[in-house]
């Protein structure tokens, strides 16, 4: 359902405009696509999603000029698999990378075993866009392959890559070097433990450069930034510097979110200045729920009314802010309760740029919802599986959500059931009084996943323990 806050004055004009742009799409003017993804940003860390203390005026503006989704989910409850789902259009029961660590992975740059790279045969959205005349750039944290593996961004559809290969190094904000394609670029300002080159600032600058270089062609800029993930460090605490009664950590977290917000403001301004804002879809989201919180965080209430954090199957772990802006095609200030997740991104982009494909995705195109030509509809069940902690899987179908915990022990354990309309905070497990829905969830669980060669349930596979305990 779309709630219109700004009603068009004349339906006819809108209709004519739509035809006009419809034509343009099939002319040379393919839309640009910018996908901005924060790291460990909670559902309610953003003003329009209920944040009271942290200022995010630019993201709020993005929402005022675009469509905001209330029931949207990441592909996973942690970094790497969320990114894998986004790039492949397949959920964690099908996509290559289903956890931060798996069997058959390589030793990462920080020395950790098990960084599974995405393979040649895994089709990515970037590859399709590249083949179809898009300039493709990725700036930020990749997570889908180490250097000299099949998973290098340059091998998986990106003309340009600037940032980090994996999670570990990405979370120092003043590293010695950074990758530009397959080259290490030394950051001289950070040598000898100096802190002069803040990676987020570099990402913001490189994003501007990428847009400047490519704005005359259609481009796809994938910008998975690293803030506000730990470590909590940045050049200054900005508007929070003199905030009374806040701890330094609180100031830093808020300042990192606001800094991200400023970057989004910069990008919007640049698009306006270059005259391409009207032909660009900007997506904004987060890769999973807020990080496991230290006490300091409680004042922000990052997960809003929801239960759980990053790594949890509950709403707080996977429900994310999701905003899309295209001034000419999306009703400004609209709000959608369409249920969806990262697996939608691939098919959505294909539809937005008018490409037909035989590929089978786990997600569904939300292009119609974005353009207001379709009301929000029931979609096939959403599915997540997760191998860290005790292992869990979850599904959302309609207003229902089913969760099964302790998968490393057994797949026969109890299934929790929640009614997200009546009980969005997932307080009341009603599995006992709704056996038919539990049966339905069991069926979904049974068929949703294809066993992986990299990720195992401990009770099924000896040796799997080593992977998850490293």
């Amino acid at each position: 359902m779309i709630k219109e806050t700004n009603k068009p004055k004349c339906a006819l004009i809108v209709f004519t405009l739509m035809i006009f742009f419809f034509n343009m799409t099939f002319g040379q003017e393919k839309p640009n696509i910018i996908f901005i993804m924060a790291d460990d940003l909670g559902y309610a860390d953003i003003g329009v999603y209920g944040q009271k203390l942290i200022k995010t005026p630019n993201i709020d503006q993005l929402s005022a000029e675009g469509m905001r989704f209330t029931d949207y989910y990441s592909g996973a409850a942690v970094c790497a698999p969320a990114r894998s789902v986004l790039m492949t259009g397949l959920h964690t029961g099908h996509t290559r990378i289903r956890g931060n660590f798996g069997k058959g992975g390589v030793v990462g740059l920080a020395g950790k075993q098990g960084r599974v790279p995405i393979k040649e045969e895994d089709l990515t959205l970037a590859e399709v866009l590249q083949e179809n005349g898009y300039r493709t750039g990725m700036i930020g944290k990749w997570g889908l392959g180490e250097p000299n593996t099949s998973g290098e961004p340059n091998k998986k559809g990106f003309d340009y890559f600037y940032g980090f290969y994996n999670q570990r190094r990405a979370h120092s904000y003043y590293p010695d070097y950074i990758w530009e394609n397959t080259n290490k670029v030394k950051l001289h300002g950070n040598e000898n433990e100096q802190n002069h080159q803040y990676t987020h600032n570099l990402f913001a600058d490189e994003s501007m450069n990428f847009i400047d270089r490519n704005y005359q062609k259609p481009f796809f800029l994938y910008l998975p930034v690293c803030i506000p993930h730990s470590r909590y460090e940045l050049p200054d605490n900005g508007i929070y510097t003199h905030k009374k009664g806040w701890t330094d950590l609180q100031k830093k977290y808020a300042a990192m979110v606001t800094r991200l917000d400023e970057t989004i403001g910069r990008i919007m301004n640049r698009l306006e200045a270059l005259g391409i804002a009207d032909n660009t879809y900007i997506f904004f989201t987060s890769d999973n729920g807020p990080a496991e919180i230290v006490n300091d965080w409680e004042i922000f209430n990052s997960n809003g009314i929801y239960k759980g954090m990053k790594r949890d199957p509950y709403e707080g772990g996977i429900r994310v802010p999701f905003i899309v802006r295209h001034p000419k095609k999306i009703t400004p200030g609209s709000i959608s309760d369409q249920v969806g997740y990262f697996a939608d991104f691939f098919p959505t982009i294909l539809e937005l740029i008018g490409l037909k494909s035989d590929e089978i995705f786990d997600g569904n195109s939300i292009a119609g919802v974005l353009h207001g030509t379709k009301k929000s509809t029931d979609v096939p069940p959403l599915y997540w599986e997760f191998y860290e902690k005790d292992g869990w899987r979850a599904t959302r179908f309609g207003k229902w959500k089913a969760i099964q915990n302790n998968l490393h022990q057994s797949h026969q354990g109890p299934i929790e059931l929640y009614d997200l309309y009546r009980d969005p905070a997932e307080t009341f497990d009603i599995s006992q009084s709704h056996p038919q829905l539990v049966e339905k969830a069991k069926k979904i669980f049974k068929t949703a996943s294809v066993p992986s060669e990299h990720y195992f349930w401990k009770f099924q596979q000896r040796g799997a323990t080593d992977i998850y305990n490293n």
Binding site: N295, I305, A425, F428, D429, I430, Q432
Partner: protein, 552 residues
Amino acid sequence: MKVKSIIFFFSSLLIFSCNLSITNNQKKPNIVFISIDDLNDWVGFLGYKKAITPNMDRLAENGFSFTNAHCPAPICGPSRTAILSGMYPVTSGVYDNNIKFSRDLPNVITLPEHFRKNGYKVYGVGKLFHGGVSNVPEAAFDEYGGRIGSAAPFNSSDLHNSKQNPNHEVTILGKKFQLPLNGMPADRYWNKAHTFDWGAVDLPDSLFSDRVSVDWAIDRLDKIKNKPFFLTLGFERPHQPLFNPKRFHEMYPLDKVSLPEIPIDDFQDLPYRAKQLALYPKTSGRHETVVKYGQWENAVSSYLASVSFVDELVGDVVNALEKRDLMENTWIVLWSDHGWHLGEKSHWGKATGWFRSTRVPFLLVPPKGNTQFKRAVNVNNMVNLLDLAPTMADIAGIPKKKSWEGRSLMPILKQEVKVWNEVTLTTFSIGSHSISTPDWQMISYYDGSYELYDLTNDPDQFNNIADQPQMNDVINQLKKHIPEEPNWNYFIRYGDYKVLVPKKGSIQVFNQILEGKNDKDIADEIPELVKKISTYIYDNQPKKKKFSIDSL
């Protein structure tokens, strides 16, 4: 000419006010802040003449005694946290003894720290904050003298539960003691230490913790320099174990002790939760054990001995102040963190909602040199120890913090009060509160049940009149003062289970009679029950926030 004179007028005003503030600064009063642990209203100055407390009575004669003072919470941790943070338990979320300031309230500036920040030299010794020395916030004191614990001269190893049954012998300074002194087994066998014990310990005073604390405090008085001082002195007594030098026990011979009355049908008019609370030995021991071992008289005698020991030590502090001419400009503030049952309602200990738990002695004694205040005043207004923080700030003339929820008592001291809201709140667990007024006390349990007592005609709270129809108006008036506790959607009792349904997060379940573990959330251990409760709430969408479920 006109302009000039106005300027002159203003500048003289300025000079005048500058002078004023300087003289005020110079005259900032010292404060001796005395807290006593588990002292109920058995003190002379509150009319309990059996207690021998001449020194505290003398303080009352020189200042204000609040006869209707109640604690914010009837257990050490939340009470002291509320007093020192200035916030109600329902605001701070600190409802039980599992409190660590640095973890739970890291941003809160405590009362002593607030005084430090406002030009006071702040000393502390003994038990002011709940818990061990590591729980004392670093910024609280300029100098902290530590605490030895209420068991001294015995140490915690001597009181270890495993050693108590059968009795064992401990030798100190060549003297032999059979522990436990009262010969009773531990009702709270799950605790490390067995402290439900009492008796005379014929050893020098200097081995007892409170004596050590007082000596430390008096030493500080010799080091006082220019700054005004704020000296906090936290007595361990009369918290159990009730061990005191022999002479204090001899003040209360067993054949002259009078015991609290327990009517035969005492439990008849109590709600289910009240009976549960009375019989579970949460903070002390069981009444039936005390009776079985014939120790009731001895317990009362020993409790009063502890009170008299504290009283003697309070007298020493006052004498030390007098000797150093410090009384002229020193306020003495004395309070107890909550009361204590000695068999009333068949209960021993605290953490209940009844008067014996919630009412506390509370004295404010102005400096001798301050002629502004009347002396020997019994204040009958309803006050709460939460009022301490703003009152202390007004006494010292330093700023009050916005987060403080109490009321300054200064208008009462100055006798400027015209209207005073005569009601006060004590929170004794999540969802359970006592509302006290001069005439009534209503005890509201988390499961929606409640008691009402007419304090004028029934000060011992023998007759719960909540069920009498003519009391409806009173009850409805009092109910308005029950705090909302917005973090929870429901408080439910199902049999012996307490179920908390938070706005956000998982359902918590506590088995209220599970010995030693009644504070532990056992929801994970009984998933079937949690599901039944979930289904019940989902299906019924209860309108009431507090209720009990008879069957599922």
